[in-house]
Protein backbone atom coordinates (compact mmCIF):
# COMPACT_ATOMS: atom_id res chain seq x y z
CA UNK A 1 0.00 0.00 0.00
CA UNK A 2 1.45 3.35 -0.90
CA UNK A 3 2.24 5.72 1.90
CA UNK A 4 0.51 9.06 2.04
CA UNK A 5 3.08 11.82 2.27
CA UNK A 6 2.50 15.51 2.21
CA UNK A 7 5.94 16.53 1.08
CA UNK A 8 8.34 15.11 -1.42
CA UNK A 9 11.76 14.41 0.02
CA UNK A 10 13.34 16.36 -2.82
CA UNK A 11 11.36 19.41 -1.81
CA UNK A 12 13.07 19.59 1.56
CA UNK A 13 15.98 21.91 2.01
CA UNK A 14 19.02 20.57 3.80
CA UNK A 15 17.89 22.19 7.09
CA UNK A 16 14.53 20.51 7.10
CA UNK A 17 13.22 17.10 7.99
CA UNK A 18 9.87 15.36 8.10
CA UNK A 19 8.48 14.37 11.46
CA UNK A 20 5.57 12.00 11.65
CA UNK A 21 3.62 12.96 14.72
CA UNK A 22 1.27 10.14 15.53
CA UNK A 23 -0.76 8.02 14.95
CA UNK A 24 0.44 7.08 18.42
CA UNK A 25 1.54 10.26 20.06
CA UNK A 26 0.42 11.53 23.46
CA UNK A 27 -0.69 14.91 22.16
CA UNK A 28 -2.86 13.89 19.22
CA UNK A 29 -5.78 12.89 21.47
CA UNK A 30 -6.46 9.62 19.79
CA UNK A 31 -5.35 8.13 16.54
CA UNK A 32 -4.45 11.07 14.37
CA UNK A 33 -1.27 11.45 12.38
CA UNK A 34 0.22 14.79 11.49
CA UNK A 35 3.05 15.06 9.04
CA UNK A 36 5.26 17.94 9.99
CA UNK A 37 7.86 19.59 7.87
CA UNK A 38 10.27 20.84 10.49
CA UNK A 39 13.24 23.15 10.63
CA UNK A 40 14.78 22.34 13.99
CA UNK A 41 12.04 23.00 16.50
CA UNK A 42 10.02 25.14 14.10
CA UNK A 43 7.09 23.81 12.10
CA UNK A 44 7.39 24.95 8.50
CA UNK A 45 4.32 23.20 7.18
CA UNK A 46 2.01 20.44 8.24
CA UNK A 47 -0.51 18.04 6.86
CA UNK A 48 -3.02 16.26 9.08
CA UNK A 49 -3.69 12.67 8.10
CA UNK A 50 -6.90 11.45 9.73
CA UNK A 51 -8.69 8.22 8.97
CA UNK A 52 -7.06 5.70 11.27
CA UNK A 53 -10.31 4.92 13.06
CA UNK A 54 -12.75 5.39 10.24
CA UNK A 55 -15.76 3.35 11.28
CA UNK A 56 -18.00 3.82 8.26
CA UNK A 57 -20.92 5.06 10.30
CA UNK A 58 -22.57 6.79 7.35
CA UNK A 59 -22.63 3.54 5.38
CA UNK A 60 -23.97 1.60 8.35
CA UNK A 61 -26.76 4.13 8.77
CA UNK A 62 -28.00 3.42 5.24
CA UNK A 63 -28.58 -0.16 6.26
CA UNK A 64 -30.36 0.50 9.54
CA UNK A 65 -33.90 1.57 10.30
CA UNK A 66 -34.39 5.14 11.39
CA UNK A 67 -34.57 4.39 15.11
CA UNK A 68 -31.72 1.90 14.90
CA UNK A 69 -29.38 4.62 13.67
CA UNK A 70 -29.54 6.46 16.98
CA UNK A 71 -26.97 4.38 18.94
CA UNK A 72 -24.41 4.86 16.17
CA UNK A 73 -24.66 8.60 16.54
CA UNK A 74 -23.37 8.24 20.11
CA UNK A 75 -20.11 6.82 18.90
CA UNK A 76 -18.90 9.77 16.88
CA UNK A 77 -18.42 12.38 19.53
CA UNK A 78 -18.26 10.13 22.54
CA UNK A 79 -17.58 13.09 24.81
CA UNK A 80 -20.95 14.66 24.17
CA UNK A 81 -23.11 11.95 22.71
CA UNK A 82 -26.29 13.96 23.10
CA UNK A 83 -25.36 16.58 20.52
CA UNK A 84 -25.24 14.04 17.68
CA UNK A 85 -28.34 12.31 19.04
CA UNK A 86 -30.09 15.63 19.00
CA UNK A 87 -29.01 16.63 15.51
CA UNK A 88 -30.14 13.32 14.07
CA UNK A 89 -33.41 13.30 16.02
CA UNK A 90 -34.21 16.86 14.96
CA UNK A 91 -33.59 16.03 11.32
CA UNK A 92 -35.81 12.95 11.36
CA UNK A 93 -38.52 14.70 13.37
CA UNK A 94 -38.54 17.53 10.86
CA UNK A 95 -38.86 15.06 8.00
CA UNK A 96 -41.77 13.38 9.79
CA UNK A 97 -43.34 16.59 11.01
CA UNK A 98 -43.23 15.36 14.57
CA UNK A 99 -43.60 17.81 17.43
CA UNK A 100 -41.70 17.00 20.64
CA UNK A 101 -43.62 17.80 23.84
CA UNK A 102 -42.32 20.56 26.08
CA UNK A 103 -41.02 18.35 28.85
CA UNK A 104 -39.14 16.20 26.37
CA UNK A 105 -37.50 19.27 24.84
CA UNK A 106 -36.58 20.50 28.30
CA UNK A 107 -34.94 17.23 29.24
CA UNK A 108 -33.05 17.32 25.96
CA UNK A 109 -31.71 20.74 26.81
CA UNK A 110 -30.69 19.58 30.28
CA UNK A 111 -28.85 16.59 28.85
CA UNK A 112 -27.23 18.63 26.11
CA UNK A 113 -25.95 21.25 28.52
CA UNK A 114 -24.68 18.59 30.93
CA UNK A 115 -22.85 17.06 28.00
CA UNK A 116 -21.39 20.42 27.13
CA UNK A 117 -20.01 20.88 30.64
CA UNK A 118 -18.68 17.33 30.66
CA UNK A 119 -16.98 17.82 27.34
CA UNK A 120 -15.43 21.14 28.33
CA UNK A 121 -14.22 19.68 31.61
CA UNK A 122 -12.54 16.87 29.74
CA UNK A 123 -10.99 19.37 27.38
CA UNK A 124 -9.67 21.25 30.42
CA UNK A 125 -8.18 18.05 31.80
CA UNK A 126 -6.60 17.01 28.53
CA UNK A 127 -5.28 20.46 27.81
CA UNK A 128 -3.52 20.45 31.15
CA UNK A 129 -1.70 17.29 30.14
CA UNK A 130 -0.87 18.81 26.77
CA UNK A 131 0.66 21.81 28.44
CA UNK A 132 2.61 19.72 30.91
CA UNK A 133 0.49 20.54 33.96
CA UNK A 134 -0.43 17.19 35.39
CA UNK A 135 -2.77 18.24 38.17
CA UNK A 136 -5.82 19.91 36.51
CA UNK A 137 -6.99 16.58 35.09
CA UNK A 138 -7.85 15.28 38.53
CA UNK A 139 -9.87 18.30 39.54
CA UNK A 140 -11.77 18.32 36.25
CA UNK A 141 -12.48 14.62 36.49
CA UNK A 142 -13.82 15.03 40.00
CA UNK A 143 -16.48 17.45 38.75
CA UNK A 144 -17.13 15.42 35.63
CA UNK A 145 -17.67 12.31 37.69
CA UNK A 146 -20.58 13.99 39.48
CA UNK A 147 -22.24 14.78 36.17
CA UNK A 148 -21.60 11.33 34.78
CA UNK A 149 -23.22 9.80 37.84
CA UNK A 150 -26.31 11.92 37.23
CA UNK A 151 -26.38 11.01 33.55
CA UNK A 152 -26.02 7.37 34.49
CA UNK A 153 -29.05 7.73 36.74
CA UNK A 154 -31.02 9.12 33.84
CA UNK A 155 -29.89 6.93 30.96
CA UNK A 156 -28.11 3.92 32.43
CA UNK A 157 -24.88 4.69 30.61
CA UNK A 158 -21.92 6.87 31.35
CA UNK A 159 -20.42 7.86 28.03
CA UNK A 160 -22.40 6.79 24.97
CA UNK A 161 -25.74 7.15 26.64
CA UNK A 162 -28.21 6.78 23.78
CA UNK A 163 -30.53 9.02 25.75
CA UNK A 164 -32.68 10.41 22.97
CA UNK A 165 -35.33 8.77 20.85
CA UNK A 166 -37.06 10.05 17.77
CA UNK A 167 -39.92 12.06 19.20
CA UNK A 168 -38.46 12.74 22.62
CA UNK A 169 -36.29 11.12 25.23
CA UNK A 170 -36.14 7.57 26.53
CA UNK A 171 -36.63 8.15 30.24
CA UNK A 172 -38.14 10.80 32.42
CA UNK A 173 -35.83 12.36 34.98
CA UNK A 174 -35.45 9.88 37.84
CA UNK A 175 -36.13 10.79 41.44
CA UNK A 176 -33.15 12.50 43.00
CA UNK A 177 -31.85 13.78 39.68
CA UNK A 178 -32.95 17.38 40.13
CA UNK A 179 -31.65 17.46 43.71
CA UNK A 180 -28.35 15.97 42.60
CA UNK A 181 -27.99 18.48 39.79
CA UNK A 182 -28.86 21.34 42.13
CA UNK A 183 -26.20 20.17 44.56
CA UNK A 184 -23.66 19.99 41.76
CA UNK A 185 -24.54 23.47 40.48
CA UNK A 186 -24.31 24.98 43.95
CA UNK A 187 -20.54 25.29 43.96
CA UNK A 188 -19.74 24.62 40.33
CA UNK A 189 -19.10 28.27 39.53
CA UNK A 190 -16.65 28.56 42.40
CA UNK A 191 -14.86 25.51 41.10
CA UNK A 192 -14.60 26.97 37.62
CA UNK A 193 -13.19 30.18 39.11
CA UNK A 194 -10.62 28.15 41.00
CA UNK A 195 -9.55 26.12 37.99
CA UNK A 196 -9.27 29.25 35.94
CA UNK A 197 -7.04 30.86 38.55
CA UNK A 198 -4.95 27.73 38.91
CA UNK A 199 -4.36 27.01 35.26
CA UNK A 200 -5.76 29.40 32.67
CA UNK A 201 -4.45 32.53 34.41
CA UNK A 202 -1.04 31.04 35.17
CA UNK A 203 1.89 33.13 33.90
CA UNK A 204 3.58 30.29 32.05
CA UNK A 205 0.26 29.26 30.55
CA UNK A 206 -0.46 32.77 29.33
CA UNK A 207 2.99 33.09 27.81
CA UNK A 208 2.45 29.86 25.94
CA UNK A 209 -1.02 30.57 24.59
CA UNK A 210 -1.39 34.32 24.11
CA UNK A 211 -1.06 35.33 20.46
CA UNK A 212 -0.23 31.73 19.59
CA UNK A 213 -2.23 30.07 16.85
CA UNK A 214 -4.13 33.15 15.79
CA UNK A 215 -7.06 32.40 13.50
CA UNK A 216 -8.43 35.44 11.73
CA UNK A 217 -12.17 35.92 11.52
CA UNK A 218 -12.45 35.67 7.76
CA UNK A 219 -10.27 32.55 7.71
CA UNK A 220 -12.35 30.98 10.44
CA UNK A 221 -15.53 31.55 8.46
CA UNK A 222 -14.04 30.35 5.21
CA UNK A 223 -12.72 27.18 6.82
CA UNK A 224 -16.09 26.50 8.42
CA UNK A 225 -14.63 26.65 11.91
CA UNK A 226 -17.41 26.64 14.47
CA UNK A 227 -18.08 26.69 18.18
CA UNK A 228 -15.72 28.21 20.73
CA UNK A 229 -12.95 28.29 18.12
CA UNK A 230 -15.00 30.60 15.91
CA UNK A 231 -16.25 32.73 18.78
CA UNK A 232 -12.65 33.28 19.90
CA UNK A 233 -12.01 34.94 16.55
CA UNK A 234 -14.49 37.69 17.28
CA UNK A 235 -17.58 36.20 15.69
CA UNK A 236 -20.38 35.72 18.19
CA UNK A 237 -22.21 33.01 16.33
CA UNK A 238 -23.97 30.45 18.48
CA UNK A 239 -26.63 28.30 16.88
CA UNK A 240 -28.52 28.23 20.16
CA UNK A 241 -29.12 31.95 19.67
CA UNK A 242 -28.90 32.25 15.90
CA UNK A 243 -31.23 29.41 14.96
CA UNK A 244 -32.76 28.18 18.22
CA UNK A 245 -33.80 24.56 18.40
CA UNK A 246 -35.35 22.38 21.06
CA UNK A 247 -36.62 25.37 23.00
CA UNK A 248 -33.36 27.21 23.52
CA UNK A 249 -35.17 30.47 22.81
CA UNK A 250 -36.79 30.19 26.27
CA UNK A 251 -33.48 30.41 28.13
CA UNK A 252 -31.45 33.51 28.71
CA UNK A 253 -27.72 33.13 28.37
CA UNK A 254 -24.82 35.03 26.90
CA UNK A 255 -22.86 34.11 23.83
CA UNK A 256 -19.24 34.22 24.94
CA UNK A 257 -16.87 35.70 22.43
CA UNK A 258 -13.36 37.09 22.42
CA UNK A 259 -11.44 39.14 19.92
CA UNK A 260 -7.95 37.86 19.26
CA UNK A 261 -8.59 34.35 18.07
CA UNK A 262 -5.53 32.94 19.84
CA UNK A 263 -5.28 29.81 21.95
CA UNK A 264 -5.83 31.68 25.19
CA UNK A 265 -9.10 33.16 23.96
CA UNK A 266 -10.34 29.72 23.02
CA UNK A 267 -9.57 28.53 26.54
CA UNK A 268 -11.24 31.51 28.12
CA UNK A 269 -14.39 30.97 26.08
CA UNK A 270 -14.70 27.35 27.15
CA UNK A 271 -14.40 28.34 30.79
CA UNK A 272 -17.06 31.02 30.34
CA UNK A 273 -19.29 28.62 28.45
CA UNK A 274 -19.26 26.26 31.38
CA UNK A 275 -20.63 29.07 33.55
CA UNK A 276 -23.31 29.86 30.97
CA UNK A 277 -24.26 26.20 30.68
CA UNK A 278 -24.59 26.02 34.43
CA UNK A 279 -26.91 29.02 34.29
CA UNK A 280 -29.02 27.35 31.56
CA UNK A 281 -29.21 24.21 33.69
CA UNK A 282 -30.44 26.22 36.66
CA UNK A 283 -33.16 27.83 34.55
CA UNK A 284 -34.10 24.49 33.04
CA UNK A 285 -34.54 22.88 36.44
CA UNK A 286 -36.59 25.79 37.72
CA UNK A 287 -38.93 25.87 34.75
CA UNK A 288 -39.25 22.15 34.15
CA UNK A 289 -42.79 21.67 32.72
CA UNK A 290 -45.06 18.74 33.43
CA UNK A 291 -46.39 16.47 30.74
CA UNK A 292 -45.31 13.88 28.22
CA UNK A 293 -41.64 13.31 27.58
CA UNK A 294 -42.05 11.87 24.13
CA UNK A 295 -44.34 12.30 21.16
CA UNK A 296 -46.16 9.28 19.82
CA UNK A 297 -43.85 8.15 17.06
CA UNK A 298 -45.06 5.34 14.82
CA UNK A 299 -43.53 1.90 15.35
CA UNK A 300 -42.09 1.89 11.85
CA UNK A 301 -40.75 5.28 10.91
CA UNK A 302 -41.25 6.13 7.26
CA UNK A 303 -40.73 9.84 6.63
CA UNK A 304 -41.90 11.43 3.44
CA UNK A 305 -39.24 11.59 0.72
CA UNK A 306 -36.95 14.57 0.92
CA UNK A 307 -33.86 15.83 2.62
CA UNK A 308 -33.36 17.72 5.83
CA UNK A 309 -30.32 19.26 7.43
CA UNK A 310 -30.62 19.87 11.18
CA UNK A 311 -27.82 21.47 13.12
CA UNK A 312 -27.19 21.99 16.79
CA UNK A 313 -24.50 23.77 18.76
CA UNK A 314 -22.32 21.03 20.16
CA UNK A 315 -19.44 21.64 22.55
CA UNK A 316 -17.07 21.78 19.59
CA UNK A 317 -19.32 23.66 17.20
CA UNK A 318 -21.94 23.03 14.60
CA UNK A 319 -23.04 19.41 14.76
CA UNK A 320 -25.26 18.62 11.83
CA UNK A 321 -27.13 15.69 10.38
CA UNK A 322 -28.23 15.70 6.76
CA UNK A 323 -30.82 12.95 6.42
CA UNK A 324 -32.21 12.04 3.03
CA UNK A 325 -35.33 9.93 3.01
CA UNK A 326 -36.54 7.91 0.06
CA UNK A 327 -39.85 7.04 1.70
CA UNK A 328 -38.64 3.70 3.01
CA UNK A 329 -38.00 2.64 6.59
CA UNK A 330 -34.28 3.18 6.19
CA UNK A 331 -32.54 6.49 5.54
CA UNK A 332 -31.32 6.83 1.97
CA UNK A 333 -28.28 8.75 3.07
CA UNK A 334 -27.13 10.23 6.36
CA UNK A 335 -24.32 12.74 6.34
CA UNK A 336 -22.97 13.95 9.65
CA UNK A 337 -21.32 17.32 9.65
CA UNK A 338 -18.72 17.15 12.38
CA UNK A 339 -17.22 20.33 13.79
CA UNK A 340 -13.82 18.80 14.52
CA UNK A 341 -13.45 17.91 10.84
CA UNK A 342 -13.69 21.52 9.75
CA UNK A 343 -11.79 22.82 12.77
CA UNK A 344 -8.86 20.54 12.10
CA UNK A 345 -8.74 21.52 8.44
CA UNK A 346 -7.85 25.05 9.57
CA UNK A 347 -4.86 23.81 11.58
CA UNK A 348 -2.32 24.57 8.88
CA UNK A 349 -3.54 28.15 8.79
CA UNK A 350 -2.65 28.63 12.47
CA UNK A 351 0.59 26.73 12.63
CA UNK A 352 2.95 28.32 10.13
CA UNK A 353 6.23 29.04 11.84
CA UNK A 354 5.31 27.94 15.34
CA UNK A 355 7.36 25.70 17.60
CA UNK A 356 6.42 22.10 18.08
CA UNK A 357 5.37 22.92 21.64
CA UNK A 358 3.01 25.56 20.23
CA UNK A 359 1.57 23.03 17.82
CA UNK A 360 0.55 20.91 20.79
CA UNK A 361 -0.92 23.95 22.50
CA UNK A 362 -2.88 24.92 19.39
CA UNK A 363 -4.18 21.45 18.71
CA UNK A 364 -5.27 21.10 22.29
CA UNK A 365 -7.06 24.44 22.20
CA UNK A 366 -9.00 23.33 19.11
CA UNK A 367 -10.51 20.51 21.18
CA UNK A 368 -10.71 17.90 18.47
CA UNK A 369 -12.23 14.45 18.87
CA UNK A 370 -10.86 11.94 16.40
CA UNK A 371 -13.79 9.49 15.93
CA UNK A 372 -15.89 12.44 14.92
CA UNK A 373 -13.40 13.42 12.22
CA UNK A 374 -13.12 9.94 10.77
CA UNK A 375 -16.72 8.87 11.40
Amino acid sequence: MEQKTAFEIQELTSDEYVLSMGPQHPATHGVLRILLRMDGEVVVNLQPDPGYIHSSIEKICENRKYDQVMPYTDRMDYLSAVSYNLAYALAVEKLMGLEVPNRGRHIRVILAEMNRIMSHLLWFAAYGIDMGALTPIWYAFRERENLITLIEMQTGNRLTHHALRIGGVKNDLPTGFVEGLNKFLENFNDMVDEYEALFIDNVIFKARTKSIGVLKKENAISYGVTGPNLRASGCDIDLRKLAPYSGYENFSFEVCSEKNGDSWDRCKIRMNEMRQSASILRQAIDTLPEGEISAKAPKIIKPTPGGCYAKVEGPRGEVGAYVVSAGTDKPYRVKFRSPSFSNLSALNEMCAGVKIADLVAIMGSLDIVIPEIDR
Binding site: G51, H54, K59, S222, C308
Partner: protein
Protein backbone atom coordinates in the same frame (compact mmCIF):
# COMPACT_ATOMS: atom_id res chain seq x y z
CA UNK B 1 -35.47 36.16 1.91
CA UNK B 2 -38.04 33.59 0.90
CA UNK B 3 -37.17 30.57 -1.17
CA UNK B 4 -38.90 32.08 -4.20
CA UNK B 5 -36.97 35.35 -4.00
CA UNK B 6 -33.72 33.52 -3.61
CA UNK B 7 -34.48 31.34 -6.60
CA UNK B 8 -35.29 34.37 -8.71
CA UNK B 9 -32.00 35.97 -7.78
CA UNK B 10 -29.80 33.00 -8.52
CA UNK B 11 -31.69 32.23 -11.73
CA UNK B 12 -30.28 35.40 -13.21
CA UNK B 13 -26.74 34.33 -12.48
CA UNK B 14 -26.67 30.63 -13.21
CA UNK B 15 -28.34 27.99 -15.28
CA UNK B 16 -30.76 26.25 -12.96
CA UNK B 17 -31.84 22.88 -14.28
CA UNK B 18 -34.42 22.18 -11.64
CA UNK B 19 -35.42 23.40 -8.22
CA UNK B 20 -37.70 22.46 -5.37
CA UNK B 21 -38.48 23.53 -1.88
CA UNK B 22 -37.64 20.92 0.71
CA UNK B 23 -38.91 21.71 4.23
CA UNK B 24 -38.39 25.41 3.71
CA UNK B 25 -34.96 25.13 2.15
CA UNK B 26 -34.23 25.82 -1.50
CA UNK B 27 -32.78 22.86 -3.40
CA UNK B 28 -31.41 24.15 -6.68
CA UNK B 29 -29.86 21.92 -9.31
CA UNK B 30 -27.29 23.89 -11.28
CA UNK B 31 -25.30 23.04 -14.34
CA UNK B 32 -21.75 21.98 -13.39
CA UNK B 33 -20.30 24.70 -15.59
CA UNK B 34 -22.00 27.52 -13.66
CA UNK B 35 -21.42 26.15 -10.16
CA UNK B 36 -18.35 28.20 -9.38
CA UNK B 37 -19.75 31.48 -10.61
CA UNK B 38 -22.97 30.88 -8.68
CA UNK B 39 -21.15 30.13 -5.42
CA UNK B 40 -18.95 33.20 -5.80
CA UNK B 41 -22.06 35.31 -6.42
CA UNK B 42 -23.89 33.81 -3.46
CA UNK B 43 -20.94 34.29 -1.14
CA UNK B 44 -20.13 37.84 -2.16
CA UNK B 45 -23.52 39.34 -2.99
CA UNK B 46 -26.15 37.32 -1.12
CA UNK B 47 -24.27 36.90 2.17
CA UNK B 48 -23.98 33.12 2.09
CA UNK B 49 -20.60 33.27 3.79
CA UNK B 50 -20.90 29.84 5.32
CA UNK B 51 -20.60 26.38 3.83
CA UNK B 52 -21.78 23.88 6.39
CA UNK B 53 -20.65 20.87 4.44
CA UNK B 54 -20.25 19.45 0.99
CA UNK B 55 -21.20 15.87 0.25
CA UNK B 56 -22.75 13.72 -2.43
CA UNK B 57 -25.77 11.50 -3.01
CA UNK B 58 -25.63 8.41 -5.16
CA UNK B 59 -28.72 7.89 -7.35
CA UNK B 60 -28.17 4.67 -9.30
CA UNK B 61 -31.71 4.56 -10.67
CA UNK B 62 -31.19 7.93 -12.38
CA UNK B 63 -27.56 7.06 -13.13
CA UNK B 64 -26.41 10.25 -11.43
CA UNK B 65 -24.41 11.39 -8.48
CA UNK B 66 -25.53 14.61 -6.88
CA UNK B 67 -22.91 16.82 -5.33
CA UNK B 68 -24.59 18.74 -2.48
CA UNK B 69 -23.35 22.08 -1.18
CA UNK B 70 -25.11 23.26 1.97
CA UNK B 71 -24.84 27.01 2.35
CA UNK B 72 -25.89 29.21 5.23
CA UNK B 73 -25.96 32.92 5.77
CA UNK B 74 -25.01 34.08 9.23
CA UNK B 75 -26.53 37.50 8.67
CA UNK B 76 -29.93 36.62 7.21
CA UNK B 77 -30.13 33.05 8.64
CA UNK B 78 -31.07 31.67 5.24
CA UNK B 79 -30.11 28.23 4.08
CA UNK B 80 -29.66 27.06 0.54
CA UNK B 81 -28.79 23.68 -0.88
CA UNK B 82 -27.03 23.78 -4.21
CA UNK B 83 -26.87 20.48 -6.05
CA UNK B 84 -24.99 19.42 -9.15
CA UNK B 85 -25.94 16.33 -11.11
CA UNK B 86 -23.01 14.31 -12.36
CA UNK B 87 -22.88 11.17 -14.38
CA UNK B 88 -21.98 8.07 -12.39
CA UNK B 89 -19.49 6.87 -14.95
CA UNK B 90 -17.51 10.10 -15.22
CA UNK B 91 -18.28 12.10 -12.11
CA UNK B 92 -16.26 15.24 -12.53
CA UNK B 93 -16.78 18.76 -11.25
CA UNK B 94 -14.69 21.86 -10.62
CA UNK B 95 -13.40 22.29 -7.12
CA UNK B 96 -14.81 25.12 -5.02
CA UNK B 97 -12.12 24.83 -2.35
CA UNK B 98 -10.76 28.27 -3.19
CA UNK B 99 -14.18 29.86 -2.71
CA UNK B 100 -14.97 28.12 0.56
CA UNK B 101 -11.75 26.77 2.10
CA UNK B 102 -13.71 24.26 4.15
CA UNK B 103 -14.69 22.54 0.92
CA UNK B 104 -11.12 21.36 0.50
CA UNK B 105 -11.44 18.57 3.04
CA UNK B 106 -15.11 17.91 2.37
CA UNK B 107 -14.34 17.48 -1.30
CA UNK B 108 -11.49 15.14 -0.56
CA UNK B 109 -13.86 13.06 1.54
CA UNK B 110 -16.56 13.09 -1.13
CA UNK B 111 -14.00 12.22 -3.77
CA UNK B 112 -12.82 9.08 -2.05
CA UNK B 113 -16.25 8.05 -0.78
CA UNK B 114 -18.11 8.51 -4.07
CA UNK B 115 -15.42 8.41 -6.71
CA UNK B 116 -15.91 11.98 -7.83
CA UNK B 117 -13.02 13.82 -9.44
CA UNK B 118 -12.62 17.42 -8.40
CA UNK B 119 -10.74 19.32 -11.05
CA UNK B 120 -7.95 21.65 -9.91
CA UNK B 121 -8.13 20.43 -6.33
CA UNK B 122 -4.97 21.42 -4.42
CA UNK B 123 -4.65 18.06 -2.60
CA UNK B 124 -6.31 15.40 -4.69
CA UNK B 125 -4.97 12.48 -2.61
CA UNK B 126 -7.13 10.52 -0.19
CA UNK B 127 -7.96 12.00 3.17
CA UNK B 128 -9.50 9.20 5.21
CA UNK B 129 -9.49 5.95 3.25
CA UNK B 130 -6.58 3.94 2.00
CA UNK B 131 -6.25 4.00 -1.80
CA UNK B 132 -7.31 0.38 -2.25
CA UNK B 133 -10.94 1.07 -1.28
CA UNK B 134 -12.89 2.67 -4.09
CA UNK B 135 -16.04 4.71 -3.54
CA UNK B 136 -17.57 2.81 -0.60
CA UNK B 137 -20.58 5.07 -0.21
CA UNK B 138 -21.93 4.30 -3.66
CA UNK B 139 -24.99 2.13 -3.43
CA UNK B 140 -23.51 -0.66 -5.52
CA UNK B 141 -20.30 -0.88 -3.52
CA UNK B 142 -19.30 -4.35 -2.55
CA UNK B 143 -15.92 -4.58 -0.94
CA UNK B 144 -14.23 -7.95 -1.00
CA UNK B 145 -15.12 -9.06 2.49
CA UNK B 146 -18.05 -6.77 3.23
CA UNK B 147 -21.05 -8.62 4.59
CA UNK B 148 -24.49 -7.39 5.39
CA UNK B 149 -25.04 -7.11 9.08
CA UNK B 150 -27.97 -8.97 10.60
CA UNK B 151 -30.82 -6.63 11.39
Amino acid sequence: MTVRELLEKIKQKAEIEDSKEDLGVLNAYVKPSSLRSLLIYMRDSLGFDWMSFMTALDMPQENTIEAVYELFSNSSKDSARIKVKLSRQAAEVETVSDIYRTAEWHEREAAEMFGITFKNHPHPENLILTPDIKAPLRKDFSGGDMKRMPE
